[in-house]
């Protein structure tokens, strides 16, 4: 027997779950399989974070982002990053316009002025261009010629990069990597999913995606998430995980001591906590459990753990390091 307040809150939570399910189902109408990727991307979006998708070409990364944008009824922009791409090509520039007989400089917004920005093959742009995204990702604003321009909320950057064909690419700097909420690996679909992909994409009538949630819905869902309570032992568990990724920590496993140069930042812990809250609500619980934390640790930290020279030389995956941390704790 709940009170009116609790009943209202329960309704909000139910609405959250239903909205999330609707988006997921709508995306799944076009994207075959990749359920975890879809859920993780949606969790990151609900939490207001950006996602870095990594996978070989042809796995549907761009299609996924495009489909999500369609399902969310949000303004979508795509930038194909190339080495000759300039920051002005992203954030916009001032152009000289003649209006009423007078010529004046007017700001022409770039493609970054959207709700969902697909930064395709982000690692092909120069660091200068990559860093132009920094301000937009963190501050949600653009500064051109001394003038700041606020981006419309919600704003998400969904970037993709190709793990192969490293020639002519510029690895993302650590500071920018840290801005991404999740880094997700898009893997090859299984045998059955392949059938479904072929069937869906080779017909004359591909599935039509309709918007099932608005930007306002996403913002409201994000606010609700922050109210989900977290018990102190769960927080303690989370903190110990993040600290254990540092090689000089007493809880760090041997693998972290040997192959890690620098561990995850507090921003990583924030990402884990937010994602764990979303996981808890999606699981139908009103509190965060250690299982929720464990479930999101890998995508939240895999790009925040910096390997040492030995780790890089031996090609140690950061996922293994994080798995060792989880195993030890």
């Amino acid at each position: 027997m709940s009170t009116p307040t609790a009943q209202a809150l329960a309704g909000e939570v139910e609405n959250f779950v239903q909205t999330f399910q609707r988006i997921r189902e709508e995306v799944s109408r076009f994207i075959v399989g990749q359920h975890e990727i879809i859920e993780d991307v949606l969790i990151a979006i609900v939490c207001g974070g950006h996602v870095l998708l990594e996978g070989v070409p042809g796995l549907g990364k761009t299609a996924l982002v495009h489909t999500i944008s369609q399902a969310l009824d949000l303004k979508f922009q795509r930038i194909q990053f190339t080495p000759d791409l300039l920051p002005a090509d992203i954030v916009g520039t001032q152009v000289l316009l003649e209006r009423d007989g007078r010529r004046q400089l007017e700001f022409q917004p770039g493609p970054v002025f959207a709700n969902i920005l697909l930064a395709d093959e982000i690692n092909r742009a120069t660091p200068k261009t990559q860093s132009a995204l920094l301000e937009t990702m963190q501050e949600k604003s653009v500064t051109v010629a001394g003038q700041s321009h606020r981006l419309e909320l919600p704003f998400f950057v969904l970037a993709t990069q190709n793990p192969i064909e490293q020639d002519g690419t510029f690895p993302l700097p650590e500071a920018q990597l840290d801005r991404f909420f999740f880094k997700l690996f898009v893997r090859l679909p299984n045998h059955d999913d392949f059938f479904e992909i072929l069937n869906r994409t080779s017909s004359n009538h591909p599935p039509a995606i309709t918007p099932v949630a608005s930007g306002e819905d996403l913002l409201r869902m994000g606010r609700l998430l922050r109210e989900v309570p977290v018990d102190r032992p769960v927080q303690d568990y989370l903190i110990r995980i993040v600290r254990a990724t540092h090689p000089d920590n007493e809880d760090a496993p041997e693998m972290a001591r040997k192959y890690v140069r620098y561990g995850a930042s507090p921003r990583g812990a924030q990402a884990i906590l937010a994602a764990a809250r979303a996981k808890a609500l999606l699981d139908g619980r009103f509190h965060v459990a250690t299982e929720d934390v464990s479930a999101v640790v890998v995508p939240a930290l895999r790009h925040r753990v910096l390997l040492s020279f030995e780790g890089e030389a031996e090609g140690v995956p950061t996922d293994d390091v994080i798995a060792a941390v989880l195993k030890k704790l």
């Binding site: 709940s2 009170t3 609790a6 309570p229 509190h287």
Partner: protein
Amino acid sequence: MDQSNNDNSVAAGRVLQFIQRVRRRLNRHAFWHGLLWAWLWVSVGLVVWATVDVIRGHQVPWPVYAVAALVWAVASLALGMVWRVNDDAAAQQADRLFQLKDSLRSCRNFTQDGRRDGFYDLQAQQTARQLEDKSLDGIRFRTPRHLLWVAIGCTALAVGLAFKGPSLTLVAEEALRRATLQATDDINQELSDLIDQLELEVSDEVEKELINANQLREWVKELEATGDPREAMRQYAKLERKIEQAAQALQNRRDEQLLERAATELKKDPVNRDLADLLKQKKLDQAARELEKLKLKPREQQPGLKLTEQQKELAKLRAAAQRMANASGRDAGRQRDSRGQNSQPLAAGRDQPEMGDQGLENWPEGLPAPPPGDDGQARGEEADGEDLDGQLEELMRQLEEDLQAWEEAMEKLELADEGDQEGAEGECEACRGRVNGDLDQIGQQLRRLARQRAAQARLRGLAKKFGQAQSQAQARSGGRGQGDQPGGREAGRGTSDRQRADQDNPETKGRASRLQGLHGQGPSLTQIQAADSGTGISRRVGEAAERDFQRQFESFVEREDIPEDLKSGVKNYFLQIHQSAAPEEQP
């Protein structure tokens, strides 16, 4: 808001109640686990203990099992206490067991932190709803069957080993130990009785003091009743040695040698032959009485006694004294010689104090200084100024000197004028008093020697009896344990062969252990027989050569084929040699 709080409280209360029930159940399980693990470890320990005992030949004592049961109970309780869980741990375990994903633990912590409303309210209610279909029966005590079977097996094995009896060798050793313990106890009592009896037998106070029965009792009290035959024999040997040393300490060798020589000297004089015989036979008490008879009375008590008669008595007494003084003088000369020649070793002894310390540290307490012997002789004479041994010699010389003084006084009295008569007589009386005093002291010294000889004889007798205690201890302990000891033939199983085919080992026959002699602690007595003091250089060879030479010389002198002038020439030659050599000998 109040309604919300009430709902939250009800739900949280149910959750907390559930957690407490889980805790109680988990604690019961912890106790059972403790019981089982403690049983396992105790039974394993018991098996090890019992196995070791059996391997060593012992029977596992039943109290060990009682102690093991006690240890089991205590260890079970201890483990149960250690493995107890609190509410937080119980909530954590229940979350894991019922797959509640931290619902119980979070609800408990939120409630304790006083968090209500909103999500907390929903969380509590949700957790309470989840518990509706959860039963504590889901938390089952899973009996670790493999541990249980191991514990049962070990316990059965340990109990089974308890029924195995001790080995025959150990039974025999135990019997021997008990017998030895009883024997030593009995013998110690008998030794105490012997000392009591000795004390009763001795009537003379001086002799009692010399025997020092209390000290002997102390030594007997120090004996411990022991089950180890070797230790028992070692104790008796040590006691025997102590008493032997005590007896040896009472020996006045110098005085006895002096008396021996004095007897020889006196024997030459027919007048003093009785005294000589008494001294020779060591009847010192009678000799002392005989000496008293020699004391001269004052002239006032003998009005008819003429001076010449008194001079005759004095001459007779002086003759005896002179012989004794001769004996003492010869002894003194020898002592001086020996001291002169022993001065080097004595100095060496002083340079090496550890040798002296080593000799003295084993000396029993409460006894006089060790008897002189070897280097100890010189040390005893030099170091102990109060030693009575040797006092007799001084007294005899003193007597001779006083007699000489008296004789001179008598001569003065004889030649004195009428005016000086009175002074000369007084001087004679003074000399007479000194002589009588000397005789008294010599008599007392002889009596003291007599007491010491008696005490020494008693102590030696006692030491002999104590020495028998070793063999008695061996016999009694060996005799009592004989029937239980291994070896030999059983009764009625002897062989008819005169020569048995399998020889018994005499060393182990009927006895598990033998006394091994320890250097310096054995029962043997090292007694030093004193010899006359001398130069330390044997004269036998030189004297024999001298005799041969003398014999050849005499036969040469008596030969008839040698002209008389040649004989007289040779004789004069040797006389001249002796005459010229004699003054050179005097420094």
